[in-house]
């Protein structure tokens, strides 16, 4: 997305549109897939109504934010295995800080929690740079540490937040067919990601992820770009944790654990290349909604919803293999 926006000269609209589609297959494929999945869902479960839509949006919101957190770092050429535990930390922070507060108080606490997320991201980025340990190991370890922090803040599930605050995601303000969770997702992701991707910063992140050596030799401060990517990832993780509080109503120290892996699944399915530099954030978000649809569909089909995890794992592997085949096929042709 970003590279197009920045490179594009005065639009020769059709050519530009075609080039855009060629470069961003996920932006066409993912919505098409989502629509197909929705049609399938309605067929197997004709009673699919506004309530089911709301549950879907609630399930998808934290996962979509986890996917965003992961996508930014992976686009910059790294990986962050601490996304899930960071979400837990934000979740228990929100649950314990907001429990007796007002709506405005909850909003102020949210700002603080986002700051904590940014700091965590900064710490990850600095550790990767200074310690010379590979990012997989650093984030695996910081994730382990954050798991301890979450347990330290809140030993067992509890706490809460003002109802008005929860309704920011859990309610339906405009119409029962437009869940607030969906609006929240679009607004929040837009607010964090658009300024980055529209600015030089986005270009730097993509350039660094695409070819670190080439970017460095072209004068890109690659260390800075990676650091920024980790900070943004931390903010997204914190948002995901706050979203968990909104959707579950409480804080729980292990609530975020599954989102490290599911978030990775979402970005892989959503067309972000794990070698960096390729993909955007829309694909992963739609993939997150798709992944959240799977357990619901399994229930509608009378299949054990726990197979959802199996399907998720299978999907990751198949998508990556298909991507590999496509690449080698393109290289040959």
């Amino acid at each position: 997305m970003s590279r197009n926006d920045i490179e594009s000269l005065p639009p020769e609209s059709l050519a530009v549109a075609m080039r855009f589609l060629r470069r961003n297959p996920a932006l066409v494929g993912m919505p098409a897939l989502l629509i197909a999945a929705m049609i399938f869902t309605v067929i197997v479960h004709p009673a699919f109504g506004s309530f089911e839509l709301q549950s879907l949006a609630l399930a998808a919101l934290p996962l979509a934010l986890a996917a965003c957190a992961q996508a930014v770092v992976v686009i910059s050429g790294g990986i962050d295995l601490s996304v899930g535990p960071m979400m837990s930390v934000a979740n228990v922070l929100a649950g314990s800080l907001m429990v007796h507060g007002s709506f405005v108080g909850a909003l102020l606490w949210s700002v603080l929690i986002l700051l904590v997320g940014a700091l965590e991201g900064l710490a990850n980025g600095l550790l990767v740079k200074i310690s010379r340990i590979p990012d997989v190991v650093v984030s695996l370890t910081t994730g382990f540490i954050l798991g301890g922090v979450a347990l330290l803040i809140m030993e067992r599930p509890g706490g809460g937040a003002p109802a008005a605050f929860l309704d920011l995601a859990a309610g339906t303000t405009f119409s029962e067919w437009v869940p607030n969770a969906l609006i929240f997702l679009v607004v929040v992701v837009g607010a964090v990601w658009t300024p980055v991707v529209r600015s030089r910063l986005g270009l730097l992140i993509y350039a660094t992820g695409s070819d670190r050596v080439a970017a460095f030799r072209s004068g890109v401060d690659t260390d800075f770009a990676r650091l920024v990517a980790y900070v943004i990832s931390g903010v997204f993780s914190a948002l995901g944790g706050i979203a968990l509080t909104m959707t579950t109503g409480i804080g729980a120290p292990l609530s975020g654990t599954i989102y490290t892996l599911s978030g990775l699944a979402a970005i892989v399915i959503g067309g972000v290349s794990l070698s960096g530099g390729k993909g955007g954030i829309v694909g992963p978000v739609i993939a997150a909604i798709l992944l959240s649809l799977i357990p619901a569909d399994l229930i509608f089909l009378n299949i054990d919803p726990n197979y959802g995890q199996v399907i998720q794992g299978t999907l990751i592997v198949i998508v990556v293999m298909a991507g590999g085949f496509a690449a080698s096929w393109q290289a040959r042709g």
Binding site: I133, V137, V317
Partner: protein
């Protein structure tokens, strides 16, 4: 390492650092000694022959995890499915104990073989990144185990006496039985990595895959064998682990994922492949086990323990990266 550095005079510090850089195993042993000294300081009189045999008993599962992880990481990969495989194999063993202990053990190891095979096929033949592949198979295995466990609610999981003895008791009250599993594996892997063609190929593939392919090495065979071995070893570690805890659940080995990677990294094997060996990982596993008991002695809450454990791992890995760079 840093401790050794401080205690010597600046003039000789450089000589010592150079020596440690060339003999990293000595640096690791020093670090191990420092932690053991730490335990002795916190509670004098703790370090006895009994304590040493207990430490070996607890270190064995981690050591076996690290064996598989070492093989895989030497090829430039990583296996993030080891914890799920271990929990799964232990659960399969416990729920099928009524069919006979050997069958139950074989079933558990079979799970490791299958997942390792899937990992190997994906990584070696389909060229999927190891991180994604093992993550995917880990998710799949975990999901299957959850479904399986819900069908198994009726039958009570039971750990066979043989497995309990293997994971929790000692010969003559001195030599842990699980050492009889770990030691041969360790000897075999150290020997194979140093002396056998397969071992040298593991290093070669990790060092430069393209060069290996050009030289006519069937790289896929090397990778496939490494991942299959890693899967089976993880399953074995899970079986010993469940013998020690005597209670089987699906998150049994979850806390072993980080240590399995950390023991190898601290032991000096590069995650990019081609450098390191299993003897370092063994000491890495011992260091982590001693660290755990040190933290337990400190009598602090579980969360603080987790935070300290992670931070110390980061510090050690960073120091090691500095030392060998």
């Amino acid at each position: 390492m840093s401790v050794a550095h401080k205690s010597s005079r600046p003039s000789s510090a450089e000589t010592i650092l150079t020596y440690l850089r060339r003999n990293t195993i000595v640096a690791l042993l020093l670090l191990l000694a420092v932690f053991i000294a730490g335990i002795e300081t916190v509670r004098p009189g703790t370090v006895t022959p009994l304590w040493i045999s207990n430490t070996l008993l607890f270190a064995a599962p981690l050591g076996i995890f690290a064996a598989g992880q070492t093989l895989v990481m030497l090829t430039g990969g990583i296996d993030l499915s080891v914890a799920t495989v271990a929990s799964g194999s232990a659960y399969l063993l416990a729920t099928n104990a009524s069919h006979g202990t050997p069958q139950a053990i074989l079933l558990g190891l079979l799970l490791g073989l299958l997942v390792g095979l899937a990992n190997g096929v994906g990584i070696a033949l389909m060229r999927v990144q190891p991180l994604v592949m093992t993550l995917g198979t880990g998710l799949m295995t975990g999901g299957f185990m959850i479904v399986y466990s819900q069908q198994m609610l009726a039958s009570q999981p039971r750990i066979p006496a043989f497995i309990q003895a293997l994971g929790a008791t000692k010969l003559f009250g001195a030599i842990p039985y699980d050492l009889f599993v770990w030691a041969p594996i360790a000897a075999f892997i150290i020997y194979a990595l140093r002396r056998s063609g397969f071992g040298r190929l593991i290093y070669a593939v990790g060092d430069n895959r393209v060069a290996c392919e050009l030289a006519g090495v069937r790289v896929w065979r090397v990778l496939l064998s490494a991942y299959v071995l890693c899967g089976v070893l993880a399953a074995l570690a899970g079986i010993i682990l469940v013998g020690g805890t005597n209670a089987s659940n699906l998150s049994l080995a979850d806390s072993y994922l980080l240590p399995s990677v950390a023991a190898v990294i601290i032991g000096g094997t590069s995650i990019f492949g081609g450098r390191g060996g299993y003897s370092g990982s063994i000491i890495g596993a011992l260091i982590l086990t001693v660290l755990t008991s040190l933290l337990t002695l400190l009598d602090i809450g579980e969360p603080v323990k987790q935070i300290l454990y992670g931070s110390i791992i980061l510090a050690m890995a960073a120091a090691y990266a500095r030392l060998t760079d």
